[in-house]
Symmetry: C2
Subunit: 335 residues, 2 copies
DNA sequence: CTGAAAGCGCTTACAG
DNA sequence: CTGAAAGCGCTTACAG
């Protein structure tokens, strides 16, 4: 019932090889033939069967997005889906499809990965950080399967990866404050063991220092990232005899506590004090007073990851290990 | 290089047909042969090439999740991804893959849908409400392509759909209050044109009435769903000479305003007043005082959708148009 | 119980 | 510039 390449060939009075060549834009076909074939295609409203094409070409034009989907993943980790959307957009542009593979219910390490590679149901793999382990990394590198890992792996590996650069985001916060003439700043972070928090702090302090602003230790506070502790921390800061003119919060939850404290002290943002936080999600929209947000565009990171994977598939020798980031400063505006 | 069915056949000393039959659990093969073939498969570590299988079988074992992915979709609409995860889980269990198709960049109505159907890259389609239109509905019903739509379409159609039942959620709220002996209740909704809000209100009032509790009109308030209006509305309610003993908010944003007002009036939850909201997402976790949450399990709805689609694919004559819902009452506990 | 053969719908050397 | 033919790796009537 469905139209095949043979129907088109018959209609155009040529062989299927010729139709195929027209379909694939070979330059060796005479313009007249191309025309006839195109007419036939149009007339019959023919679309190649993608399964047959992929099978004959020994390529799937499909990429797997490998991840671990816990309960409520969509709410707890919307960033992952934003990345996925970015990946999907660039793949679609390049005529690749994206399929979702969840390793959460794997009965042993590497079950899904092995299956994907053995069954040849994808030409490449985008691996979310939640789905990586030493075992899986080994499987992939051993097979030399085209891949890109989102997020720095926690271990030594030959994998290709891409990650956000929190140091740069910290720098962006500092630069924003400096360019707005805030020199006396404070930073409320998470625990000292919180990697992201420390990276942001590092970038922040580094830039402040490089511009000649010294941040005294009493203005760098560490918390358990709860609203309560950050409320207390902010109050302490604001009660200093030389209280800061700007407060940078390392997370949205911290910013919630800080906002309460700012309100409690009856300070106005930005007149009395500058108020910054990292990440637009999940609460920046409803924090009152509204903070300036340093956000990271992970959708764009997904696009970058997709581009790199496509490049790797063209050129398997390519090694990619890189940081990417586009910190965006959003000064109290609603998106 | 990769092992094929012929390698296995040679190793086992049988024909490829026989290997195929063993692979597909035909009962006509002698146990001895089955054994030999299985040994060969094991020895060579053979996995069938899924592309070849799907091509020979004329089936893809793939389902498309059709949606429209705007910017920041992951943050604005995490429910959609939760549904997708539910769909994916049930499909994976049934050996189907799920691939994501975004119609956002389609240059004309139905472009992606037509392609998916013509190229035969999927056996069926789960369509998110954001991706449906009259044109697309027509294309799908004309082709009789197996599908299930998430969300009630806004128009008359032959499509199969599944949707949440907000009336039931409203009932759940009422039942919770009644069983906890709150009879004098108030409801703060969105605009009267807000379909979901009105459905919830309808279920809520219906159940209250059926239990003999009458809710006076002055205790049913409509707002623009902003924190500001709901704050005002709540203050007004609490200043009534006969103020309600329970307030039901139709959304998280409304609940934010109500929480502020409750705090302002120095009332305690649940001692002085009961405080309910619909939806766990996005803010229920940080609303202070903590509301009781009536949530809907859309992950489960995804599972239901997947099951129905699989049934439709087995039995194309099946018509499905149904409401589903699992309202979950979560009284002030953190998940 | 087993196997030879056709077929799924394309692509691609290769020959002409 | 064009086409016959082999091939991609399976499945499945059909014959025996």
């Amino acid at each position: 019932m469905p139209i095949t390449i043979s129907d088109v060939a018959r209609e155009a009075g040529v062989s299927t090889s010729t139709v195929s060549k027209v379909l694939n834009n070979w330059t060796t076909i005479s313009p007249a033939t191309v025309d006839r074939v195109k007419h036939a295609i149009h007339k019959l409203n023919y679309t190649p069967n993608s399964r047959a094409v992929s099978f004959a070409r020994q390529t799937t034009q499909n990429i797997v997005f490998l991840t671990s989907l816990g309960k409520n993943e969509a709410y707890h980790n919307p960033h992952m889906f934003d990345i996925m959307c970015g990946v999907n957009s660039i793949l679609a542009k390049n005529n690749y499809t994206l399929s979702l593979v969840d390793i959460f219910n794997d009965s042993y390490q590497g079950e899904s990965v092995t299956r994907v590679m053995a069954q040849k149901c994808a030409d490449g793999m985008v691996i979310h950080g939640s789905a990586i382990s030493k075992e899986i990394a080994d499987l992939i590198t051993k097979q030399q399967f085209p891949h890109i890992l989102i997020g720095h792996p926690g271990f030594e590996t030959q994998l290709c990866w891409i990650d956000t650069n929190h140091v740069l985001a910290g720098q962006a916060a500092a630069e924003y404050l400096i360019s707005n003439n805030y020199g006396d700043v404070a930073f409320i972070g998470g625990k000292k063991t919180d990697h992201i928090s420390m990276q942001r702090l590092k970038g922040f302090l580094g830039t402040m220092h490089s511009y000649g602003y010294l941040v005294s230790p009493e203005k760098i506070l560490y918390t358990n990232s709860s609203r309560e502790e950050s409320y207390e921390a902010t109050i302490r800061l604001l009660e200093l005899k030389k209280s800061p003119s700007a407060i940078v919060c390392e997370s949205n939850t911290i910013a919630l506590g800080t906002a309460r404290a700012i309100e409690k002290m009856k300070l106005e943002v930005p007149k009395d004090i500058a108020f910054l936080t990292f990440d637009a999600y999940p609460y920046s929209e409803i924090i009152d007073p509204k903070p300036t947000v340093i956000d990271i565009n992970v959708y764009d990171m997904g696009i970058q990851a997709g581009i790199m994977l496509l490049r790797k598939m063209e050129n398997p020798a390519l090694q990619i290990q890189t940081y990417t980031t586009l910190p965006v400063v959003n000064a109290g505006k609603t998106t």
